[in-house]
Amino acid sequence: MIKPMRKFSSNLAVIVLLLAGWFAGPAAAQSLNVDIVGGVKTATPIVVVPFAQQGGTPLPTDIADVIRNDFNRSGKFRSLARSDIVEFPAQGSDIKFATWRLLKQDYIVVGRIKDSGNGMVQVEYELWDVNKQQSLLHQEMPPAPVGDLRNVAHQIADIIYQKITGVRGAFWTRIAYITSVGLGNHTTYSLVVADSDGYNPQVVARSRESLLTPRWSPDGKKIAYVSFESGNSAIYVQDITTGSRQLVEAHAKGINGSPAWSPDGTKLAVALSYVGNLELYVLDLATHKETRLTHNLAIDTEPVWAPDGNSIYFTSDRSGQAQIYQIPATGGEAQRISFQGQTNLEAAVSYDGKQIAMVQGNGNVYRIAVMDRSLGDQVRFLSPGPLDESPSFAPNASMLLYAATEGAHGVLYAVSADGMVRQRLVLSDGDVREPSWGPYRQQ
């Protein structure tokens, strides 16, 4: 494996992290370049001191660096740049609080890594309140293989994030996306799964024809997606660990598209047009029984379940232009919920059902808008356009992923839920698109 090359520079307003690298191995994918743009003055200042290593060979992962980048991406924290860190305490008793107060830090994280032998290491860390000089967390992580240190770092970032904000962290999660490399008949499409920060990309499926709409099962073990490999669209469900896959919708006639998992993972909402017009159905994965939800001549597509499983949001142009509607998951009357903007498409729902992200089109500009159902359906924009799409919430709704087009390239952005910090994920060659944020991972 070739180690990624890193260059790091930072100030309070702009943090740029460039990362380029190719990962070896049959299932490895081209990795993403990562930029962070923007910054927030109101973000909480926190310093993550480089972790002290006690014995063993040099490690491939700078744990403090991974944690710092997680914090910066979230928009909630602003972590002190490595180059501004002047002292290197490894445990609480070594911290000189006056130094960090002078640097205006609210919190400090220190840690150390012990060699446990056989390629295993153990990480211990502490979180301190700088002003109160009080220990908030002191934890020893379970021993982990050296190759898993990025996962350990994301888990630590999650715990610290929760301790300070009260919200569960979602850094130790994975994302899925589609890449397209090459032009015309020489295009290769890949469904890729990577860490939430774009590292460790692995190809899950590859095709000469378009791949679309990857969607994580609620347990994070499977991904449903649309493939044109047979010439027409078809929906597959693939186990991402074993690679085995199941063809779940492949009507010879018409579209087989837009899979969306029910919150309990037993059903897929889909958009099918074999009856002659694009309609929504719910497919029971155990019985293969299809229940039709919509009946009209409009385009009805892009279903997504409300977290309680009782209703489904979807896109329909029944009013003339595409808007977001909500329909009971067992069928019935659909109600339009989007009224701002010329057109609204591709809803995504936060875990608590309070926020609905969507693509809003006005003229030739398509931006990611979030409607807050708890604030009288007020809408805020998270992206500048002009061709943004595929919003996907992190499992704690603190951030979203979406796809944008820059020049000839498709790129991904991770944006904090307040829209203040955006991070760009760029494929060095070809397009990256259709991001989908996976669920929380299980230990």
Binding site: T213, F228, S233, A271, I299, T301, E302, L345, E346, A408
Partner: protein, 169 residues
Amino acid sequence: MNKTVRVALVALLCIGAAACSKKEVKPQPTAPEPAAQAPQAPVSNGKYTPADLDTDACLRQRVVYFDFDKSEIKPEFQKIIACHAKYLQDRPTSHIRLEGNTDERGTREYNLGLGERRGKAVSSALQAAGGSASQLDVVSYGKEKPVCREHNEDCWSKNRRVEIVYTAQ
């Protein structure tokens, strides 16, 4: 089929055949490749043969273009519809796949729906002009297969299209 429809169809076919055998072919407003060759009259019995697919100025045109977010067939494409419908009628074993496409604005799955609606509009028009439903298939690629990749109306107008693909001649 009732009489009125039949009369209308015959009338349409006549218009189509006449248009196709005319010496002058108006260039299509948005078509990237206007007919270069003078049309040839169908063979003696007035029926198209597979060779005409390569030589006939009307049959050589196999793309129908659309307005943004629309699936109505514009009047300038009726002539193409008519000659391909006549071909389907003349060659009952022939088969067409209509590939619906859109420009890049809007989401991928919505555009799959829009591309299909365009494909179906062409399919209906071909059937109204004498083609048989069993000779026609529609597949939508949405915005997945653009012929032009710039972000402007000129490019978008080339991508909003249905391609007429003969899978059997």
